[in-house]
Chain length 314, copies 2
């Protein structure tokens, strides 16, 4: 496959255009005051399936040739990527199988099932995820679409920053949450291609700081056991995403779960927007490291809005 | 004062334009499927102070002549109107006093105080609210701005429907929640003036159905003790709003608190928007009475987004 560059991301944007939303960019005078910066929130919680993940999944599914597509798609996902693959496959009219660890949030499982995908449970360990996925692939002859370690997925995720920089052209910085690194990789390639002077940071929970450690140690750290409320930010980088981050990323900014919770509450109360913990990660990092962003124009990825709201309605 | 007509509402729109947001109109393919209609949500939870109330308060405060304004404004409010008056007075640089019953939600009191208004507590009864308000008026010589029984306020609230009908011109119907009737009165005058064929309904909780009863009995019912989770919908109509509703309203649609809770949850989960129970009232009514709206283009007032979110963050 060719390297992922701006042309590949532009192609992805055209490929997903009939299916994905161009999400709005939201502002908040009250959060600007709190941050001491001008914030541009890319509203990916308003993307289809409620997360940026639809971009990558849609680009990958619609990149398949007809023969491969007919055999269906397999993926492993604790949530939003699974729902995104399920919807993208439904839109293309092909079968989807999602291998899901047993601890996954109910609200995300329901979305996957609603979109008509087959759900196959597995244990939490990466080893068991891979074992069950391999089994399903052998049975179906289908195509594996990994949640982040896939150039088609990374290019798709890059369309969010590509849009953002057309909607809010003069940004000084963009912050995206980092888990496996798909969104951050796509954001880096899109943003640095469009504007080499822009700063792009990852935002990561203290309790799952493997990307932060990996960049400091200049080697991929994969032995950390994540401990964070950000259920979407528990994966490790792949060789591919580690390589992209090592080349382009201006740094990883950490924040702890209390700071994520506070940022999430600000987004609910001041912006009246529903975001999941991972979706508030980038704002939490900006508020913790506000001296870096004082007076600047900062793009923030609100990456998703799927969470269990039962406590509010019981 | 002249009668409230489209010109008065147009003047109000011009008067508040430097201060108020033109809120967006949101759609949701998933809620359209559930409702069997095409829904246009006027996002007043994204208005300043998080509710349509800012429109009426702002219009009233900026209508005052300089001499009256200098003596300050007094109002009584269990919440959003109080915050709206507080912000409008801060913007005009004049003092505000808000008389607040003791049971008012903490989140709404905090907003009033944050905007720099003086808070004077009173008992829950209308009698005590009036007593304390009269006291404050006598002390300050200020101007009373009632939450709904005021032509300036009604005209201001009418600017929401005025905007909506320019943003979504070919609506068949508009539904607005009804409490004291300020928003519904303004909506009726704006909508019926712009398009006499449009249907305009009020939406009211079963547990506070005084407007529904008033229109059926053709006399103002004021002796009902409200029992509903919709803390913004517990007031009774005034003679003025009862008169406007009697002349123009196509009916009041009821829904119960469970239906309001379900509608609110749909707005959170499918639209990723934070609305208070009163803000979900109109959708609850449309879903309960969906046969009336099948296949039609329906405007829905998302009237506000201020609620206690502690259960989600504890």
């Amino acid at each position: 496959m060719p390297p992922i560059d701006l042309d590949v991301i532009r192609d992805a944007a055209a490929r997903i255009a009939p299916h994905a939303h161009v999400t709005p960019v939201l502002g908040s005078a009250s959060l600007d005051r709190i941050a001491g910066a001008t914030l541009f929130f890319k509203a990916e919680h308003l993307q289809r399936v409620g997360a940026f993940k639809f971009r990558g999944a849609c680009n990958a599914v619609f990149s398949l040739d007809d023969a491969s597509a007919a055999r269906g798609v397999v993926t492993q996902s604790s949530g939003n990527h699974g729902a995104a693959i399920a919807l993208a496959c439904r839109l293309r009219g092909i079968p989807a199988t999602v291998v899901v660890p047993r601890h996954a949030p109910q609200v995300k499982l329901a979305a996957i099932a609603d979109f008509g995908a087959r759900i196959v449970p597995c244990e939490v360990s990466q080893h068991d995820r891979d074992r069950v996925s391999a089994q399903v692939l052998a049975e179906t002859g289908g195509e594996m679409i990994h949640p982040f370690d896939d150039p088609r997925v990374i290019a798709g995720q890059g369309t969010a920053a590509f849009e953002l920089l057309h909607q809010a052209p003069a940004l000084d910085a963009i912050i995206a949450p980092v888990s496996g690194g798909g969104l951050l990789s796509g954001t880096l390639i899109a943003a640095k291609s469009l504007n080499p002077a822009i700063d792009v940071f990852g935002a990561e929970p203290e309790g799952a700081s493997d990307a932060w450690q990996s960049l400091r140690q200049q080697r991929r750290v994969t032995d950390m056991t994540p401990n964070t409320i950000c259920d979407g930010l528990r994966a490790h980088l792949s060789e591919r995403t580690f390589g992209i981050l090592s080349r382009h990323c201006d740094g990883i900014l950490l924040a702890n779960d209390d700071e994520v919770r506070a940022a999430m509450r600000l987004i609910f109360e001041r912006m009246k927007q529903v975001v999941e913990p991972s979706g508030a990660m980038a704002l939490a990092a900006v508020l913790r490291h506000r001296e870096r962003f004082a007076g600047r124009r900062v793009g923030i990825m609100l990456s998703g809005g799927n969470l269990d709201l039962s406590p509010l309605f019981s």
